[in-house]
């Protein structure tokens, strides 16, 4: 009943990637994700794709740990691709400024340009997902807040993120407990029940959950104030680890990749690599 396993969480390990500083991994993830978000250069995307898949392998991540999410993303990606195609099959030719018809079918005419654009979309999905998975599975959540703070997010917001991660399991336990008790009262949540009944049933779980959790906010903020949270402009972090050579190396690599994207932008005169010119 409780889908505990279906959440991406830290899996301790001792590979090169596990040993990297959390801040390094965060910087790498952010810079490379932005780079992949910006560019539509197929060559760059293919390289990052291959690279991030190799990293997954290097980190010793097993297929079963990520299979459910990969399947989900594949389904989502296919639906999205079909939607993009249905809504505007001519989008590719507008982007690349040429028209090479493959299958002529009126509104749904398939062009090489459209297929190439869709290929780029797919590559973009594949690029970003392994990097995020890599980050989530190899980074101790304790170190996440301090890394956010290190890359310039205020420590208060960083700590709010840490609190969220700390209390997700607690609130999840509460949710299941309340849900069971409400189902015993007779609230229907199963697919068999009518929509109205399900909404009412869900509301009867959500209201006690939300109100009792909001009461917690006061207690926790009191506890934090009594231990001087927010009294200084800065704070230090118990879990923070200093940078080592490999961290500088990986950070430099991330910056290098961003520079490549900038160069590619100039060569391509824009986001798109256009092989049809």
């Amino acid at each position: 009943m409780q889908e505990d396993d279906k959440i991406l969480g830290y899996q301790p390990g001792n590979t090169f990637i596990h040993r990297l500083n959390a801040t390094t991994k965060l910087i790498f993830l952010l810079l490379v994700s932005i780079a992949c978000m910006v560019t539509y250069d197929t060559r760059f995307l293919v390289v990052i794709c291959v690279f991030s898949l190799i990293c997954l392998k290097l980190a010793g991540i097993k297929w079963r740990q990520i299979s459910f999410i990969v399947k989900f993303i594949i389904v989502f990606a296919i639906i999205n691709l079909i939607a993009v195609f249905i809504f505007q099959p001519t989008y590719g030719q507008e982007l690349y400024g040429s028209k090479n018809v493959l299958i002529s079918a009126g509104y749904f005419t398939v062009t090489k340009e459209e297929l190439f654009y869709l290929l780029n979309l797919v590559l973009k999905y594949i690029c970003s997902v392994p990097l995020v998975l890599l980050f989530l599975l190899t980074t101790n959540p304790s170190q996440f807040a301090s890394s956010l703070n290190k890359i310039g997010v205020s420590y208060k917001i960083s700590y709010a993120v840490s609190l969220a991660l700390r209390y997700i399991p607690t609130i999840q336990t509460d949710y299941w407990a309340i849900s069971a008790a409400q189902q015993a009262r007779g609230n229907e949540l199963s697919k068999k029940a009518s929509l109205g009944k399900r909404i009412k049933g869900t509301l009867n779980i959500v209201i006690p959950l939300i109100f009792s959790s909001i009461e917690r906010i006061d207690i926790i903020s009191t506890a934090m104030q009594l231990r001087r949270f927010g009294s200084k402009k800065k704070r230090s972090w118990y879990v923070y680890k200093p940078f080592t050579t490999k961290d500088y190396f990986v950070t430099a690599m991330a910056i290098f990749l961003v520079i490549i994207v900038v160069i590619l932008w100039h060569i391509n005169a824009g986001r798109f690599f256009n092989p049809f010119k």
Binding site: I73, I210, F211
Partner: protein
């Protein structure tokens, strides 16, 4: 206490709010029967927490909650939609500053205003920010993203109008003081 920047209570409200957001997003979305259209109870919750704690908390809970949930569930996120959720929290939070739920007050007039504001917020978020973001960041075709935006606007406005109003009213009711009550 005089504090620089965000108060401790706001920090905690953001943290706990984001945690509740993640749990609600994972477990309480109800399919309507129309494909890809779910009743998302997180949005009424976002409206509640934004009205209680104000725009900064509303924005941050929307942003962190949405992003965390996406990452933990799907391994990736759509930043344009994350930003849209955050802006919705911000707008409702701005209006929330004029409300006083903490003292059990939520009149009919305020209810109407709340709903006008939330509908405007939904339009701005899903019909402007999310689609524009999709076009700018992901270069998706305009008519697709605007249609998605329109359906999100309608759905979320209705959900907040009904469930959000119920939630706000229920919260205000828990703050009623004993005062005039007598046994009978």
């Amino acid at each position: 206490m005089k504090e620089k920047g965000l108060s401790v209570k706001s920090v905690v409200a953001i943290g706990i709010g984001a945690a509740i957001y993640v749990i609600l997003a994972r477990f309480t979305s109800i399919p309507t029967g129309i494909p890809n259209t779910n009743i998302e109870i997180v949005y009424p919750f976002l409206a509640l927490i934004a009205t209680i704690y104000g725009p900064v908390v509303g924005f941050s809970v929307g942003f962190i909650g949405h992003a965390l949930n996406d990452f933990l569930m799907y391994g990736q996120t759509w930043w344009s939609w994350v930003l849209a959720t955050a802006i919705l929290g911000l707008i409702i939070g701005l209006y929330g500053m004029r409300l006083d739920l903490e003292h059990g007050e939520f009149t009919g007039k305020q209810m109407v205003m709340f709903n006008l504001v939330q509908i405007l917020g939904n339009i701005l978020s899903w019909l402007v920010i999310a689609p524009l973001g999709d076009i700018l960041i992901y270069s998706e075709p305009a008519n697709k993203v605007f249609l998605q935006g329109a359906s999100a606007t309608i759905m979320n406005s209705i959900v907040i109008a009904i469930l959000g109003t119920i939630l706000l009213k229920a919260y205000a009711a828990t703050k009623v003081k004993k005062g005039s009550l007598h046994k009978d």
